[in-house]
């Protein structure tokens, strides 16, 4: 194989990326929403979210009593995003923040491949944030847990302002091909009617 041949292959390859991935319908080129001010967003997350978790962990507050919820387990994240109304959990109404270390070494891109679609398809409002390189190590030390999949889901009412600030800096994901398959609840309405309180007496009399 000559160098010229290799060059040809490379050129063809780049062409494909453009044609197939930068297609406005599937829009795979921008599957991960673009973060405008990466450094500032990451600092916000560190100071507001991670430092607070660290403080709570250091004070040895048991996990169920935490004012905010946090999980790094893949399966738990999937189930949380799946259900619109799970019980009367407080996680139900509060905003969801899904942090992904998709640029870090040791995080499998295959595992994370469906995450943007999952966030997009979720019936709840999820803010998906991709973190800069090296974020995984920081999360691991602050939370004292091995965050194997590079995912972190946080929720809680006190995160509202953080989520608002971050959302302003993130492009809204645009995946037109998913809009048609997204679940939309049927608009059911109740009709107000009246029903008699007493049962008809005649039947009992006949017997």
């Amino acid at each position: 194989m000559s160098l010229k041949n290799l060059d040809k292959q490379y050129a063809q390859r780049r062409q494909t990326y453009r044609a197939v991935l930068d297609n406005p319908f599937t829009n795979e080129g921008s599957l991960w929403p673009h973060v405008k001010d990466q450094q500032q967003v990451w600092e916000l997350i560190q100071t507001i979210l991670l430092a607070r978790c660290r403080a709570l962990a250091d004070a040895e507050v048991p996990a169920p009593e935490w004012p905010l919820g946090i999980t790094t387990s893949f399966n738990e994240i999937v189930t949380l995003l799946q259900h619109e109304n799970d019980d009367n959990d407080q996680s139900n109404r509060s905003p969801l923040l899904l942090l992904v270390c998709n640029k870090d070494h040791g995080v499998s891109s295959v595992v994370l491949q469906q995450i943007p679609l999952l966030a997009y398809m979720s019936p709840r409002k999820v803010t998906l944030v991709q973190l800069p390189r090296g974020a995984l190590a920081t999360i691991q030390t602050q939370l004292k847990s091995d965050c194997t999949e590079g995912l972190l889901l946080a929720w809680g009412d006190e995160l509202q302002s953080l989520v608002n600030q971050i959302t302003a800096k993130i492009d809204q994901p645009q995946l037109p091909w998913l809009d048609q398959v997204k679940f939309e609840p049927t608009a059911l309405k109740l009709l107000k009617t009246t029903a008699p309180l007493k049962k008809p007496v005649e039947k009992a009399g006949k017997k």
Partner: protein
């Protein structure tokens, strides 16, 4: 009738985009049974133009179901979860991402990661396509030393392959010429 180069490229782009979009359109048309057919058609198209697609698309079982060809959409036609299976012989467990296609009920395991029980931080990473290789490796030799791996890496560099090929050519031509001389004699 023939197209000039730019026209041909434009046609190629439109052609492929159309096929690719069709695959993504299918889940909403409620005829998911056709997805295998359209996927095959798209792959044939890329083969005709000799294009190499990015790994995220071509990787078996990851973007499309390996059985029915439906494009995976979580919460719509795919369930996903991380499962862990124990291997008692090596005291390791393997974490894999399991996709379940809700259309054909096919289960696929991708991205296996070996986790050692003593040190959960030490994680060896590998990606779907290497899955089978790994399995074979496990059977053949349970641990490959760092030196061996380094050797392998050295051998597989491009320049080495080139030089190897050149050498082969030389030896071939040499032997051929010898033979021909003998024959001539």
């Amino acid at each position: 009738m023939s197209m000039n180069r730019s026209q041909a490229e434009k046609f190629k782009d439109i052609h492929l985009n159309h096929k690719y979009n069709l695959i993504h359109m299918l889940p909403s048309t409620e005829v998911p049974a056709l997805s295998g057919f359209y996927l095959k058609s798209f792959y044939n198209g890329t083969k005709r133009y000799r294009l190499r697609l990015p790994e995220s698309i071509v990787e078996p079982d990851s973007k499309f179901c390996g059985n029915c060809g439906a494009v995976r959409i979580p919460l719509f036609n795919t369930d996903m979860s991380i499962t862990e299976s124990n291997n008692e012989a090596t005291s390791e467990s393997t974490r894999t991402l399991q996709y379940t296609c809700l259309h054909c009920k096919n289960q696929a395991q991708v991205a296996p990661v070996r986790v050692q029980k003593q040190t959960p931080v030490n994680v060896k990473q590998s990606v779907g396509a290497k899955e089978e290789e790994q399995k074979q490796d496990k059977v053949n030799k349970k641990t490959s030393s760092a030196r061996e791996r380094a050797k392998k890496r050295k051998k597989s560099t491009l320049s080495d392959m080139l030089s190897q090929k050149n050498e082969e050519k030389k030896s071939k031509s040499f032997s051929l010429s010898l033979e021909s001389m003998i024959q001539n004699d």
